[in-house]
């Protein structure tokens, strides 16, 4: 990547004297631009945004039909149901994370831009969380209410899903970056990301269970937060390495 023409502004910005200072773009600005681009693109294809939500609702629907319509029993299994649905829905949504950008060459341009690929991919992952994790977090309390959770549990469930889905998006970004070049990589992607997501499932389901019982749920929330911090620190690095390898 050293043999770039000097006419690409971001690269030229790194070599003072070759280009006007106005063309220099800091990596924070570049990340913000990438984030805005992804959000704009997504809002122009709204149908895609609804799909993970509909999938989440469908998976939740399977349990009352498959287990029992009794609210007492459903309330017991609600945390597991919600978090399994959340894991599967976020897995489904990973398809949209890098695929289009890899196909039309955007990712290649990102890698060649001379900007930090880590920052750009972190921006993409943030956009992905805004578009899938956050809507799912808003949807989860509704699904929980339908499974017999009390209204008092709503803030706790919303918070735990919102926090947990940050980590799920980040782990998913690693898996998606590594499987970029693979045809029919869907099953492989699930095999790569689900084992790594299990701690999120455990702490998230525990937080949801405590919220339904009306007990204090700070401990699992703090652990979910710790996982999110760890993910934010390390996952974009691994995803950037994965994208570079896939583009080789």
């Amino acid at each position: 990547m050293s043999e770039l023409p000097a006419s690409i502004p971001a690269v030229a910005g790194r070599e003072p004297g070759l280009s006007p200072a106005a063309l220099r773009v800091s990596s924070l600005t570049a990340a913000r631009m990438a984030l805005r681009r992804d959000l704009t693109l997504a809002f122009r294809q709204r149908a895609q945004l609804v799909q993970p939500l509909a999938f989440f609702a469908m998976v939740t629907l399977l349990f009352p039909l498959g287990v029992s319509p009794e609210l007492g029993r459903l309330r017991e299994i609600a945390p597991g149901v919600l978090w399994s649905a959340e894991l599967l829905a976020s897995l489904l949504a990973l398809e949209f994370l890098f695929r289009d950008d890899a196909q039309d060459g955007t990712l290649e341009q990102y890698a060649l831009s001379g900007q930090s690929l880590t920052a750009l991919l972190f921006a993409k992952t943030c956009a992905h969380w805004f578009l899938t994790g956050l809507p799912l977090a808003l949807m989860a309390p509704v699904a929980a209410l339908s499974l017999g959770a009390p209204v008092g549990a709503v803030p706790g469930i919303l918070l735990s899903v919102a926090l947990g889905s940050v980590t799920l998006s980040l782990i998913g970004a690693i898996g998606a970056s590594l499987t970029l070049g693979i045809k029919r990589g869907g099953a492989l992607l699930s095999l790569l990301t689900l084992p790594l997501s299990l701690p999120v499932l455990i702490f998230g389901a525990r937080a949801t269970q405590l919220a339904i019982l009306g007990a204090p749920l700070m401990a699992p929330l703090e652990l979910l937060g710790a996982l999110a911090v760890l993910g934010i620190t390390l996952a974009p690095l691994a995803a950037a390495a994965g994208v570079r390898i896939s583009l080789e």
């Binding site: 690693i174 590594l178 499987t179 070049g181 693979i182 990589g185 492989l188 095999l191 790569l192 689900l194 084992p195 790594l196 299990l198 701690p199 455990i202 702490f203 525990r206 652990l223 996982l227 760890l230 390390l234 691994a238 390495a241 994965g242 390898i245 896939s246 080789e248």
Partner: protein, 245 residues
Amino acid sequence: MTWTWFHRLGSPPHVFALARRLTPWLGWPAALLILGGLWGGLVLAPPDYQQGDGFRIIYVHAPSAWLSLMVYTSMAIAAAVGLIWRIKVAHAVAASCAPIGASFTLAALVTGALWGQPMWGTFWQWDPRLTSELILFFLYLGYMGLRAGIEDTQRADRASGVLAVVGVVNVPIIHYSVTWWNSLHQAPSVMRLARPTLPGSMLAPLLMMLLGFTLLFGALVLVRLRAEILARERTSGWIREAVGA
């Protein structure tokens, strides 16, 4: 001190020859230790006062479980060395480790289940250690699946290397979260295999088996490494001389 011996570890022909020379030095002690350990564990050691003869499966179970983690760590270290210094042989070592580690993990799972049937009255208990072992098995499957999915060897090396490093960061997190999850759901009344003190007649064969299995892993890795190097370097000239064709 010269570092040439170290630098030569990056050269496939040298490693190929070295692996061929070292294999018997690991393989034969492994065979002797495992045979001795089995004799000591299955024949000489007295039956346990609580578990009877059932405890003897520990002589296969514990070394397999130990190796399942040890091999994953070795694999991740080899992959990291390959990624950082771009050493092809290190990637070949990582690739050779995966199927062996997966086999030891499967052996630990199966022997754990067989031990569980008489002790717990069920083949499967969601015991934290068995559960972590099962998750570890899926991590191995994912690693091998990713390798199989990418045709270009160098890309497969580097992509699966990143996955191994990510996995090794996650293994302790998964282990502790599973332990925490389990302590919420059931009282720790399940009988534990590991005791603080084992009498010498039971402990000595176990140590022999642990060492024997570790050496066996070393020998198996060297054999697989040779096959791996052969497959990767099949077009280079030195292969012809090395295999005497």
